[in-house]
Point group: C2
Chain length 427, copies 2
């Protein structure tokens, strides 16, 4: 029997009614002749409520205990989903991450899955049960401690289970209809993509698209698992994320991949400028060493050309706003040693990224891109590129207009004014 | 280092402030030079909230999944308590019932502990950690499924841990000061007992006293573990429950055990009367077989003397009100076969029990008891006795007055009008 893995996020499991709707969906998949394994997140905002409780008890709770606490959320939702399925006359068994064999490293709060040993799952499937697994959690290999995977963890749980079980597809149910050419809240004429390559999806996720978590896409790509992103609120087909050869179109012809997959935007980054850095060997290395030692991941980096006379240069980089304070403190501590003049912190920046595998063979893409931004009077502060992506930093208040301009310039606007809903996917 | 096991119920863990207070208490015990192992219940009413959620999703949830759901409550409280202790500068580790080695049978919702294998606990104690264990839960020996122990389960977890670890004492923290000679809400002059034998405590718990759960007392008695029942809201000494030889009094003399330990009452039972049963061999057996087949535990049973002419008799028994409907249905189904005339269901009854090990050697106790009830105009409907207990059934509206009359008649009233608080202990 083919195995289908499904993932339901917190917004699809907000209350008893939502849980019953999800149960009906799972029951239909089972009745259609599939073995079904489901990864669930905690209900609605319950994870945030647990974090608030922890904060009330201890300002800096120990990570081991925080993980112990947080995993209660998925335990509640998995049991309720199993009950609701049972109520439809279909047998179901819920398993914690540990019981399901989700083995991780020891990094509490941001553990990585290193193995899945799904013995109890396959045994339960063999007995005809639907299997519900708590997402976002696992057990560490060496210490047997309970761990959590961090934001987006349940997507990763689902993909890892699909890989370990040899599933046909991993269906990620969310509150949007699929992956869009841009965020429909900003671009009302954004179109849902029927298909996108895992490579492109990786770039979109890394560039601010929230629909799938980056690590789950990396995992799916590595193990060649097709992901089907779709809405838990409608029966419509969503978006297939896969590097496997393109499917056949309705008339039997091979569907040609479009040049551009989509436009992503990101308001979660800040820009730090280190002003007046002595333009001598090793100064940049000192700066980036200090930031790296604080475990901060930088995104884009620009070093201005040194002004002829001063012998000084400016170095700018972007980083997550949440790391801003830590980075500033790390830099202040080395100011004397490096000898730079000052620091500027700017959180009014936005990032716009154009993603498409077709860029490789279409040299005109960047010309069209920069022309569209110029015509919309959008000033560009930083640029970075990969083989299939161009990203720019602009003023944050210009970002929406910039996204619309680029979307239109590449012919991505849909011709019908379909109303779509687009929101975060929980974790 | 001596090991102290402590138990905190839901009412002692109602919110972040309560959890911090409990943490300070645990930290003091640790600083006094003890290894400390703590069993915790779920916070406040959170178990009831989880049950409500389950009911919203499925009217008759499968017991396995209900246990999976319910155990989330203790997982939350144990992690929060560990965090709060950590915040006081003392290292703490929380463990689920399964991790702590609480091995049970397979009876979901009412599992019995059959073994405790506390390897991870002793290892953590050896490393200097305070250990917090989720009460009320375990893992089944054969199927490795998560189980719960039923009402009062955390008391039993604490006592079982104390036995397995060879603890010096098991401290049960609750919202009352200890075990009283009667419920102070009914008898304002009830006195706190400094000491009570496990045998007497068993009879009190079986007769309606809520301060300790029956099974935990059975367990403590079997393994000879002293229990110290005390309030988590004051530093005062509570009540020692132990069959071990009485302690020395303040002047060095041995404290003599009083004749009577206390008066318990119970409003949770109903009375069923099977009317007009043919007075021939085997009819009573048919009736009690039907009730036993429905898994109902009867308490007191009375068969009236057969009236000379009719050849018919009445059989009355008491049982938990919660089992009333099931019992009535079981009896209706055998009415034709047994040939009785009818059934009466009466839930306006109350049970009063006098408990004291001194009854054995004091033949005047029952005379004093029945005289006190007669003087208070309390009519007696049923009587049952054990070696150290007399129980009677009366009209429920007479029960409070009856308890006060008996309490006074046995000289149990305290001479000072100390105000006490007395309430349920969670589970």
């Amino acid at each position: 029997m083919p195995i289908v893995v499904q993932k339901y996020g917190g917004s699809s499991l907000a209350d008893a009614e939502s849980i019953k709707r999800v149960a009906r969906r799972i029951a239909e998949t089972r009745k259609a002749g599939n073995d079904v394994v489901v990864a669930v997140s905690a209900m609605g905002d319950s994870t945030d409520e647990l974090v608030d409780l922890a904060q009330d008890v201890s300002p800096v709770p120990p990570p081991r205990e925080l993980d112990m606490l947080m995993t209660a959320g998925e335990r509640i939702s998995m049991a309720l989903v199993a009950m609701a399925i049972h109520d439809l006359g279909i047998s179901a068994r819920s398993f914690t991450g540990s019981q399901a064999g989700v083995i991780t490293d020891e990094a509490h709060g941001r553990a990585k899955i290193i193995d899945v040993t799904p013995g109890r799952i396959t045994e339960a499937l063999g007995k005809g049960h639907v299997v519900i697994v708590a997402g976002f959690q696992g057990v560490s290999q060496s210490t047997k401690e309970i761990t959590t995977l961090g934001r987006g963890g349940t997507d990763t749980t689902a993909v890892a289970l699909a890989a370990a079980l040899g599933a046909q597809v991993c269906e990620i149910y969310t509150d949007v209809d699929g992956v869009f050419t841009a965020d429909p809240r900003i671009v009302p004429r954004a179109r849902k993509l029927d298909r996108i390559s895992a490579e492109e999806m990786l770039e979109l996720a890394a560039s601010g698209s929230k629909v799938l978590h980056l690590r789950s896409v990396e995992y799916a790509r590595r193990y060649d698992i097709p992901i089907h992103v779709r809405s838990s609120f409608t029966p419509k087909e969503g978006t297939i994320v896969s590097d496997q050869p393109g499917q056949q179109g309705p008339e039997g012809e091979t569907v040609e991949a479009p040049i551009i997959a989509g436009v992503a935007h990101d308001l979660s980054e800040a820009k730090i400028t280190v002003v007046g850095v002595p333009d001598t060997t090793g100064k940049a290395a000192q700066i980036f060493h200090a930031v790296a030692a604080a475990e901060i991941n930088l995104d884009m980096i620009v070093q201005n050309v040194s002004a002829t006379d001063t012998g000084l240069t400016d170095i700018s980089f972007t980083l997550p706003k949440t790391d801003g304070q830590t980075a500033m403190e790390a830099l202040q501590s080395i100011q004397e040693q490096v000898g730079f003049t000052g620091l500027q912190y700017d959180d009014q920046v936005g990032k716009l990224s154009l993603v498409g595998a077709g860029m490789r063979s279409n040299p005109g893409v960047s010309a069209t891109f920069f022309r569209a931004l110029a015509d919309a009077d959008v000033n560009i502060e930083m640029i970075s590129t990969s083989e299939i992506r161009i990203s720019v930093i602009t003023r944050s208040e210009l970002l929406d207009e910039a996204v619309r301009a680029v979307h239109t310039a590449f012919g991505l606007d849909s011709q019908d004014g379909e109303a779509v809903v687009y929101a975060g996917t929980g974790r």
